[in-house]
């Protein structure tokens, strides 16, 4: 079943996430990140930051939540067993820190087919508690073999 390509531009509900030290430590452990700036606030202050930093790809935690909304959206018609992660882009304005209250309203930036496959692009501008943009996340999911022909 092809995806509903008319959903380009659709916005999903706001996702919020408070960055706590325990989750950052768990994430750092999982990726083998042991540098001090990701482990304690003293080291981060030594680099000029006000609080302990999260590793750059920590925002994946939020991105799993945002793309999850599209994945289960019945209007879109994604078959999760056919989905692979095709591309990922992050653009950072500053590193994410422990204590940040992150929020984002994800949207479908694009849906298109190419050959037998379809592509779903989800964009999420992640902001902090003061409304400053911190990270722009652009996720491309590939839906294998669902294009109904006539792709671009």
């Amino acid at each position: 079943m092809p995806l509903n390509q008319s959903l380009k531009g659709k916005e999903y509900g706001e996702v919020t996430f408070t960055v706590d030290q325990g989750r950052v430590a768990q994430f750092a452990d999982a990726i083998g990140e042991d540098r001090p700036a990701f482990r304690d606030s003293e080291a981060a202050r030594g680099l000029g930051y006000p609080a302990q930093l999260a590793p750059p790809t920590f925002v994946t935690v939020l991105q799993i939540m945002t793309s999850g909304q599209a994945v289960v959206d019945p209007e879109l018609g994604l078959d999760y067993s056919r989905v692979v992660h095709g591309e990922q882009e992050y653009e950072w304005s500053r590193p994410v820190r422990v204590g940040d209250e992150l929020r984002t309203t994800p949207r479908i930036a694009d849906v298109y087919s190419r050959g037998p496959n379809e592509f779903l692009v989800i964009e999420a501008e992640i902001k902090d508690q003061s409304g400053e943009p911190i990270v722009l996340a652009r996720t491309t999911l590939l839906s294998r073999g669902t294009a109904g022909g006539g792709g671009r």
Binding site: R23, I31, G48, Y49, P55, I64, H85, Y90, W92
Partner: protein
């Protein structure tokens, strides 16, 4: 908040120190829990076999995290990493050695920024497989 790498010390064509790690099942499970991506493809061998793989595979984002670490290890300051755009092109199986690499492709004097091509590879039966390819990063140097 300054990169340990100085703009004046680098040149186009220069490669960053490669970063290698052996991908273990426990780490991939830990990554599933830490990231929240609980797709059974990364945890359940029987499920992975049912969709045509010999066993579980690592998350694409697990490889991207490793590539980001190669960059921030080189830069010293995590804030010097400004942008990454990666394409996932091959899967990673358990106990394979994942190597993250990068090369400076362009330098901009006005902003002290460097654009790098970045990739991650595994050696599979003597053949180099590019797990992440056609990908780039932008960093701000001191």
């Amino acid at each position: 908040m300054t990169s340990a790498v100085r703009f004046q010390d680098v040149h186009v064509g220069q490669e960053i120190p490669p970063l290698a790690k052996v991908v273990r099942r426990e780490e991939v499970k830990a990554y599933a829990d830490a990231s929240g991506d609980q797709n059974p493809l990364h945890q359940d061998d029987a499920f992975a076999k049912s969709v045509g793989f010999p066993g579980i595979i690592a998350h694409g984002m697990f490889s991207m995290a490793h590539l980001a670490k190669a960059l921030t290890d080189w830069l010293g300051d995590p804030g010097a990493l400004k942008r990454m755009k990666v394409q996932f092109r091959a899967v990673v199986f358990m106990d394979e050695t994942l190597v993250a690499k990068g090369r400076i492709e362009a330098l901009d004097e006005a902003t002290k920024r460097a654009r790098l091509s970045v990739w991650a590879e595994v050696d599979r039966a003597g053949e180099r497989q590019l797990v992440i390819k056609n990908s780039e990063a932008e960093v701000e140097l001191a």
